[in-house]
Assembly symmetry: D2
């Protein structure tokens, strides 16, 4: 576990290899993300995980908005989250994600949300996406080849 600052696109590709394929998305707990208990509200982590996923795809050249413009969407079909300890208001944390094995048309992502120094573990999670044809509203039998090729690379790392 070796957290790092938000990488530029170029550094990200290297670091994905270097750290055993985790992508790191740093976050800060702002007031609007907290609840009455002074800690990050449990649903806020879902936003953070989406942000990390979008940034990770971007780091390997897949713009999420471009994908959507091409008619391919990647909705979440499964989500599981375990909350180990809360992130307090004003704290920094890092959302680490990596693509796990692709299972047919299912794209699985693992998550660890932890302190910047990697000592505290706040959240672990898994998210599964499928590719959907936006026009038909149907699950694609296979990913657009260009997307698949790039994702396979991510998986190999």
């Amino acid at each position: 576990m070796n957290p790092q600052l938000e990488p530029t696109s170029a550094i990200a590709k290297t670091s994905l290899g270097a750290t055993g394929d985790w992508f790191d998305h740093p976050v800060h707990a702002y007031p609007h993300q907290t609840d009455y208990a002074g800690i990050v509200w449990h649903g806020t982590y879902i936003s953070w995980m989406e942000e990390a996923r979008v940034k990770c795809l971007q780091s390997i050249g897949i713009g999420f908005a471009d994908l959507v413009a091409m008619g391919c969407d990647l909705p979440v079909v499964d989500l599981s989250v375990r909350y180990h300890r809360p992130v307090q208001m004003g704290m920094d944390a890092v959302v680490r994600t990596r693509m796990a094995k692709m299972d047919g048309i299912r794209i699985n992502w693992d998550y660890q949300i932890q302190s910047l120094d990697g000592i505290e573990l706040y959240v672990t999670a898994q998210v599964t996406l499928v590719a959907v044809d936006r026009e038909k509203g149907k699950i694609l039998r296979q990913l657009p080849p260009a997307v698949r090729e790039v994702l396979m690379k991510l998986q190999a790392e």
Copy 2:
């Protein structure tokens, strides 16, 4: 000031006349809407005001999703909010809205968010919408006639 339970479509039309044209949308302050201070986060009221606006339009027969499907969008172009006192977690409140005078293509809404008994005033606000052609992304010179006709009725009340 005479708050009331969420009206059905039929009652709403009557009550708009009866109470001098306010539409009432009851809300409850849930944990996800609070911040570290145990009160409703200041941005949450923007959601509540949108909900009241959508319900008010629905009560006079304008489905917001139908409007969008017809190619007409009503984005917010101006927003001003004054926070008088906070709504605490677990409290009920009522979001009152009414359409103020239409100013050419600008549709103005007034808001008062208050306690159920009408004694405490939490928030006052104004929101301005314009009608936009979704395809062209341009402001419409005039509202779709069917929409305009219904809105004029709302204004007259």
Copy 3:
């Protein structure tokens, strides 16, 4: 499956028994809850499930804010969600919840989010809470007796 309008406190208790112990929380998909795809964003359901839980507790006499004021918090420690089909903007839906078996200090809730007529199933989910001493920030060995007693009743139904 027999959806219904939001029950008053009195009706809720009856209906919990009548329908095999589901509590129904009706929702409407507002613009602020949608994403670029015109459907409810996947994290929004977490808010809806919290609302249903708070309302269900309220229907058996447990005010969430009162609980917190007593020094007892009920944070989410586990969450899993399966997305079957999306709720579109402008649609109505019902969030059904029931307390599953209490497992020591873990309070488990089941969820089904479905169309008002009960024909379409949008989301199924499970959420686990634990009771925490707010001051000490530690998990309670047991629920406050008054809370436990009421929850047991809910479970028995």
Copy 4:
């Protein structure tokens, strides 16, 4: 107008002087921040503006969570937003903020949300905060001296 990458604390102080006292907070439009129209939902900007404010205070040595821990809160009492053009999903933007003149106990902030190259203007806004004694729930007659001193410096720049 000279947008820049998110500054470290040290650079921020310099840049505040260099650019005529605007603080720049870069943002990216993620799916969870969009609505059915594929653009950033109008309430999302309120979150972005809060983030910019918190980061700006942090850059001059005021930790928002520390302030709260000291018993001083800074709630928003007035908010006005003008929406010039929408930020589309996937776009980068910069939220620029600066403290305007302090008006007794009112702390005023100006905002401009614009494209990274400074050519497109998306949103202009003003936000007013007051300092509140958290325990008493009352507006402070004056800011904590240490806070006031630092803020005065920000204002002078």
